[in-house]
């Protein structure tokens, strides 16, 4: 995407126009003020929440939960995926079961996890990690599965041990798939973290916005939603940058 000055100015102008529309809609009462706060009230609530309220600690709690769950998911997903993907037999035995798990919504495991572990922070983290593991796991298995037969022959000819083969040939080859899986997994981590906070009353933005909605504090609700959007934006941008850096060999 070429970002010359005129287009950047146009982009900003449209965003400003949208904010202006929001301002008009809330001030002229096109929508009930109970649902749609004025922009200044929403941004005020955002500021107040950080200086006097608990928005700062809520944000940290949600981001921490998301990152920890994502880290665990990525680690388990890559290790298990490499183990399964590097063995023809393991793929045959396990892949159908793994594919069955893919369309299951991660949040559907929340009731089972509540029954097993109770309403605790550990329970939420477990569901986040488990739910976010599937994209990475399946992407890793797929990346290993797509490995060219010649590369396996080269590995055998060089008498690489299985571990060396995985580390030096398999993982670099599967890296584009793994990174794409990890990006999806970050999105799932954020979603499941928020759902978990809503259901299990764990401190975080999920609980904050649910409480704000229940007490009809629309401006605080908007502040929380804006923060969650910010988290999603920042994590996605960071991963896209990391991906571009790690895969720079691909574009040559």
């Amino acid at each position: 995407m070429k970002l010359d000055l005129r287009h950047t100015a146009g982009s900003v102008a449209l965003l400003a126009a949208m904010l202006g529309l929001w301002w008009l809609a809330s001030h002229l009462g096109w929508m009930n003020r109970a649902f749609l706060p004025t922009p200044e009230a929403a941004f005020g609530a955002l500021g107040d929440g950080f200086t006097g309220g608990s928005l700062g600690s809520d944000t940290l709690a949600t981001v921490g939960r998301m990152l920890l769950g994502w880290g665990l998911a990525s680690l388990c997903g890559v290790v298990l995926g490499a183990l399964i993907g590097s063995s023809e037999a393991a793929r045959r035995w396990l892949q159908p079961t793994l594919e069955f798990m893919r369309p299951l919504p991660a949040s559907a495991l929340m009731p089972l996890a509540i029954a097993l572990f109770g309403l605790s922070a550990g329970m939420v983290l477990a569901v986040v990690a488990f739910g976010a593991m599937w994209p990475v796991l399946l992407a890793t298995v797929h990346g290993f599965g797509a490995l060219h037969g010649r590369l396996r022959e080269v590995g055998r000819a060089l008498q690489l041990s299985r571990r060396a083969f995985v580390a030096q040939v398999g993982l670099p080859h599967a890296m584009p798939d793994i990174l794409a899986g990890m990006r999806l997994s970050m999105t799932i981590s954020l979603i499941v973290s928020v759902v978990g906070e809503m259901l299990a009353s764990q401190p975080g933005l999920g609980q904050a916005i649910l409480l704000a909605a229940r007490s009809y504090q629309a401006s605080e609700l908007f502040a929380g939603v804006m923060l969650l959007g910010g988290i999603g934006f920042a994590s996605n941008a960071a991963l896209a940058a990391a991906e571009a850096h790690l895969l720079r060999w691909q574009r040559r």
Binding site: L14, F100, P105, S107, I191, L199, G229
Partner: protein, 250 residues
Amino acid sequence: MTDRWQGPVLPTVLLAGLEVFARTAGQHSDALAPPSAALRALMGAVADGSLLAATGFTLGSAALGLLVGGLAGLALGTVLGLWRQAASVSFLTIEVLRPIPSVALIPLAMLIFGFGVTMETSVVAFATVWPVLVLAQAAVRQIEPRLLEVSAALQLKPRDRFLKIVLPAVLPRLFVALRLGVAIALMVAVTVEIAANPYGIGYALMLSQQSLNPALMLAWLLWIGALGLGINAAAGALQQGLARRMGAWP
């Protein structure tokens, strides 16, 4: 994959293990039940009609949300794909709205619409509009430029230009978007029901946990898994069948 008999072995072993465990050591568990009891609970839900009602609600809301979100995404994506200036101007606004996690809108939808179909549909629509928009925009951009020149030379009206040139050219790719949209819509609908909306299969699952009925809970969980698998497989088959018929890439 040459032979496929290995696939079902692991699930069978796991289910048998759970059956044995739940009948012996875990007899008084609130979380686990023998799969045979879960199957009986599922039959019970079929018999009393609750399965059909809950499934109908969830699938209906998901489909309606996908329809709204998909059509909006298709319309916006087509416009942005054909008109580069509009795409670069709206880039920032889209990038600000798109990363908002759909579940963050559950409380807002609850506040505006209360509980029910509208609330769930609106969250599903928000979740599906972005992927469809992005894929539609990419698909329209990759239309052979000469086709668009032809439509300009023939002086087609915008409606004919869309129906006769753009739509047939992007159809195979739109079905890829539809397939992704189906998966997202189902996941989001179930999540909305688990988190807030007291209807549908997600709520039935949540309720069975809260009433400490592990057999029924496992039954709903299995049903959600089977439903997801079946619907995603159907969407995939539809997409691939269409791609083959139109001679495009699979």
